[in-house]
């Protein structure tokens, strides 16, 4: 890990000094030798504990709005990378109401979820589709992927702090150091797990919110990234009716193909 030796990073320097001191001890040297050949699988328990706090804090929020400004790489078969801009907004009433607005360079989609029905709306082309979707937001995030091949961006925001959080898959966790994201003091963590390397910037203090998330897809040799900066508004109660779709005039109902039928 490259360490910038500037005064802004004093805590990191201290950590570095501590690490050097540790390395001087025989035990630490033995541990280092064992870890060195295969890529060191360091799992900093404090990082995982902090991510646990993120989950708890998120699940304690009953009403909130989170916006994300994101960029996503798409890779051509030639290996050439393209970048697309995404603007994402989730309005949430836990545990089972969600409104999603997904906007990118190319595609506009809205999702309405009221704990019973999920509706996908493509306003510009005038289509919508509704499917039964009983359950919580977290369950819906998994179901739409499994049944309909819809990957909701940043779905983790709704899974952390639940039994399906997936943090067991983490194979490496380290604290990079302090960071400033949109003027907010954060800790920068870097994690690895099968298929993805990911980084998360978590606000310091009791408001344990992820302020930024970067996901690197390591299954793809060109390692495309999705990077999102988040803006949170806690305690905002979405308007009644935000979660059920009423088709406007001219909107036509179509089918949302289940996975098996989509082949």
């Amino acid at each position: 890990m490259p360490i910038r030796s500037t005064s802004d990073f004093r805590p990191l320097l201290l950590a570095g000094a501590a690490a050097l001191a540790l390395l001087a001890s025989p035990a630490a040297r033995a541990a280092g030798a064992a870890a060195a050949p295969a890529e060191a699988a360091t799992k900093d328990a404090a990082v995982l504990e902090r991510l646990g706090q993120v989950g708890s804090f998120l699940r304690a929020q009953k009403h909130f709005v989170v916006k994300a400004d994101a960029v996503k790489d798409e890779v051509l078969e030639s290996g050439q990378k393209l970048q697309f801009t995404h603007n994402i907004e989730y309005q949430v009433s836990a545990p089972d109401k969600l409104r999603a607005s997904l906007r990118s360079d190319r595609i506009h989609r809205d999702f309405y979820f009221d704990g019973k029905t999920l509706t996908q709306v493509a306003l510009r082309v005038g289509y919508y589709a509704s499917v039964p979707m009983p359950g919580t937001i977290a369950e819906a995030m998994v179901q739409v992927a499994e049944r309909y091949e819809i990957e909701m961006p940043l779905a983790d925001l709704f899974l952390w702090g639940t039994p399906a959080a997936g943090l067991d898959d983490v194979t490496s966790a380290l604290r990079v150091g302090p960071a400033h994201i949109n003027g907010i003091d954060c800790d920068h963590f870097a994690l690895r797990q099968p298929g993805v390397d990911w980084q998360v910037w978590v606000e310091r203090g009791a408001r344990a919110l992820p302020q930024k998330l970067v996901i690197t897809t390591t299954d793809n040799p060109t390692q495309p990234q999705f990077a999102a900066t988040l803006t949170w508004r806690l305690g905002v109660t979405p308007a009644a009716g935000s979660f059920s779709y009423t088709p406007a005039k001219g909107m036509g109902r179509i089918e949302l193909k289940p996975v098996a039928a989509a082949k």
Binding site: Q80, Q120, E151, E255
Partner: protein, 146 residues
């Protein structure tokens, strides 16, 4: 989306073989792997390990001169009426093959028709059933409903 060259190519029958080869390579270069993940949790990940969404192989044309138009887009959905180049996509089409799938409708002459509870698009002699596959809108050519 079709490359701008298509309408011209359709007229130049002598060049068909050449353009077909060119077409194939161009298509390949426009296909994306579409596997960039936007969430960490493996259960919310859509495992697109093949390019099944990219081989959208469009209207086989029944005109004499004609080629099979391959409209392969960068595999990110493009809403109808949004993409400037899509307007040239199906100029030469007279009859689409039933069961084939396309990402975009002909640029003009399409009328939405409600049949039962579901919307279809009638474009001249051709009927299309729009559907979502994931978040992408695709159009399946169906037998005329009227």
């Amino acid at each position: 989306m079709t490359r701008l060259a298509h309408p011209v190519i359709a007229l130049l029958t002598a060049a068909l073989l050449v353009t077909a080869a060119f077409d194939a390579s161009a298509d390949k270069n426009r296909q994306v792997r579409n596997d960039t993940r936007t969430s960490v949790n493996k259960n919310t990940n859509v495992n697109r390990n093949s390019n099944k969404n990219t081989n959208v192989n469009v209207n086989s044309n029944k005109n004499v001169n004609v080629n099979t138009n391959r409209h392969v887009d960068v595999d990110v959905d493009v809403d109808r009426g949004f993409h400037p180049v899509a307007a040239v996509a199906t100029v030469a089409v007279t009859a689409a093959v039933i069961g084939s799938v396309t990402r975009s409708l002909p640029p003009s002459g399409c009328v939405p028709v409600m049949v039962g509870n579901v919307m279809y698009q009638q474009c001249g002699p051709n009927w299309y059933q729009p559907q979502y596959v994931g978040t992408s809108v695709q159009y399946v050519v169906v037998a005329p409903l009227r």
